[in-house]
């Protein structure tokens, strides 16, 4: 495998990028004076700033390398991750859940669990989230190292430690504020740096219509082949997509994962917080223009004799995650190569910085202050936040070596989400919308849901369980198993929580005001015209979603 020889202009762009994000971290340090500034960016952000950061925190290795590679592997079904598997959940968060989150003035999602239920549920989720965050952060590091090795021939170890140190520097200095600022820079860099791959790929293939006619029929649809798992590239039925991805995994991630929700917490008021995920839904629906189209373009090129395009082989396996970097190598001349590499790095940095800033907040508030030092001062909490940032980065480097052993990043990511987020969504849903759910019900339900997911994961991995029993179909890809495992984990948590709540002590209603629907005043709408309300933008988003799904049916 030939590596790229970066020219001086490519190095210059890379140097500008690194200098800019490090400089921003240093510049913002002077405005980071309190724990509110460090952990919640001062709660001063507009809906646009919070919204783009909300999306950008998610636009890491998962979106870029993993999804482009998965499109090559599974076809257009990957677009479900961006449409049915994201938009309804994002809108639900903005319209229905954000009032409970934002109005209770919590610092983290586990903080809500403490107010609604009790300390043990908060600590259970806080620790689970911390572990998950470090694992996901490790994936980002692994992906970064892949890019640096692919393009520059750098050593794995050096790549991981250098990139980790960069993120550690600016997050340690100014916390969430620098993470959000750099995420927005990264958002623009990703679009300007990678959209050109799609444009040039379409020029080479001959346009979107040529792309759709040159891929296998099962790779070019969203729903029309979903009745039979054997008829589509992902080997999954519509029920698995809707229940596993569209409902449990999507809602579990977008409505409860503190990595993204933290950006909405940084908004300046409730309206801006509600608008945050709704604004983010529009660019989210556009991301397949980069990842899905380029994945399909790569698939066609690989099957075209004489094109000279082939994915990397890694230990005898096809390295699907090399799809996007190889396309950049194919199309980009000097100058643009530096931009493309910077864009990829930006995507990974955004994801990693997001994970680390979420980790330091949850660790500081939901583990340190909850268990170790209940009377910690403002200065002490900021100090702990900075220390935990460094420790978190080091631990994520360690987990990166574990992530390296998996053939596809995305499959691994979904496995992690179904351990933590899927059951948590059941807990949150019941907690926010059902008054009589009890602390004991929430705790044991959450534990049972997490246990179910882990047991299924281990059962399939060590072949104790036939995957067909989980997916309810004879054809089951790894992705299908992930979707269905998330569904069962959610269902077990949901049912156990209800069952135990029927027989255990409820919290007094006066302690639940502002936390549960029915005991919370409706959001004030006086004086705000309809076209400025979150509901209006949510309707627009739904219309775009429906049109896209019908067009690519």
């Amino acid at each position: 495998m030939a590596t790229f020889n970066l020219s001086i202009v490519d190095w210059l762009i890379l140097a500008i990028y690194f200098g800019f994000i490090l400089g921003l971290g240093y510049y913002l340090k002077r405005f980071t004076k309190s724990q509110e500034d460090y952990f919640l960016a001062g709660r001063k952000n507009s809906a646009w700033v919070a919204g783009i950061a909300f999306l950008s925190a998610n636009l890491g290795a998962l979106e870029l390398l993993g999804m482009t590679g998965n499109t090559y592997k599974y076809g257009m079904y990957v677009a479900h991750f961006y449409w049915i598997g994201a938009i309804p959940a994002m809108l639900f968060l903005g319209l229905y859940m954000m009032p409970f989150y934002y109005s209770s003035k919590i610092h983290s999602v586990p903080g809500y669990l403490k107010l609604r239920f009790d300390e043990r549920t908060r600590v259970l989720n806080g620790i689970a989230f911390g572990v998950m965050t470090l694992l996901v952060s490790g994936i980002n590091l692994y992906a970064m190292a892949l890019v640096l090795r692919t393009f520059l021939g750098w050593d794995w170890n050096v790549s991981m430690w250098v990139s980790a140190a960069t993120v550690a520097f600016y997050v340690t200095l100014s916390g969430l504020m620098s993470a959000i600022f750099t995420e927005i820079i990264q958002f623009f860099l990703i679009w300007f740096g990678l959209f050109l791959v799609t444009i040039l790929g379409l020029v080479e293939i001959g346009g979107v219509s040529q792309v759709l006619t040159n891929i296998p029929a099962s790779f070019g649809t969203l729903w029309s082949t979903s009745a039979d798992a054997s008829q589509n590239g992902m080997a999954i039925t519509w029920a698995g997509i809707v229940l596993g991805l569209g409902f449990v995994l999507s809602f579990g991630y977008w409505t409860t994962d503190f990595l993204v929700v933290q950006r909405a917490f940084s908004a300046k008021n409730l309206r801006a917080a509600r608008l945050t995920p709704i604004i983010a839904s529009f660019p989210k629906m556009a991301v397949p223009v980069i990842v899905v189209l380029t994945g399909l373009i790569a698939l066609i090129l690989a099957k075209t004799p004489g094109s000279g395009f082939a994915l990397l082989q890694d230990g005898g396996h096809v390295n699907y995650d090399s799809t996007l970097p190889l396309l950049i190598m194919r199309y980009y001349p000097h100058g643009l190569v530096g931009l493309g590499v910077s864009a990829l790095l930006a995507g990974f940095m955004a994801g990693q910085a997001g994970n680390i800033s979420a980790f330091n907040t949850v660790w500081t508030y939901d583990v340190y202050r909850a268990i170790i030092n209940k009377n910690a001062s403002d200065a002490n909490l900021m100090w702990v936040g900075r220390i935990s940032t460094v420790i978190g980065v080091v631990l994520s480097v360690v987990t990166a070596y574990w992530a390296k052993g998996f053939p596809s990043i995305m499959d691994y990511m979904q496995a992690i989400f179904s351990w933590v987020n899927a059951p948590l969504f059941a807990t949150m849903l019941l907690g926010m919308f059902v008054v009589w759910i009890t602390p004991a019900g929430a705790f044991w339900g959450l534990l049972a849901g997490m246990g179910t997911s882990i047991a299924m994961f281990l059962g399939v991995k060590f072949q104790w369980i036939d995957p067909a029993r989980i997916t309810l179909s004879n054809t089951a890809s790894d992705m299908a198993v992930n979707f269905w495992r998330a569904w069962w984990a959610w269902l077990v948590c949901f049912l156990v929580t209800i069952l135990i709540s029927l027989f255990t002590e409820k919290k007094p209603k006066e302690e639940l005001v502002g936390l549960v629907k029915g005991l919370t005043p409706e959001t004030a709408r006086d004086g705000i015209p309809f076209i400025k309300r979150p509901e209006f933008y949510a309707i627009l988003s739904v219309v775009v979603l429906v049109v896209l799904n019908i067009y690519f049916w």
Partner: protein
């Protein structure tokens, strides 16, 4: 402090200048190893798009400050 859009403008302007300049250089002195579709000179027009976007962000926010 300066709004984030100001920094977006600065960054895109700097990047756009370099990509555009590199594209123009390749236009007159083509590289020995050509990429696929090199004849489209993507560096020139894409660099211009980045540069103008950066200038627009920079000019619109150069006098603004946020809390």
């Amino acid at each position: 402090m300066k709004p984030i859009w100001y920094f977006v403008g600065l960054f895109l302007t700097a990047t756009g200048i370099i990509v555009l300049a590199s594209g123009v250089y390749d236009l007159f002195i083509p590289p020995e190893q050509k990429t696929v579709l090199a004849d489209l000179h993507a560096g020139v027009w894409w660099g211009a798009v980045i540069l103008f976007s950066g200038i627009a962000f920079f000019l619109a926010n150069r006098k603004k400050t946020v809390e």
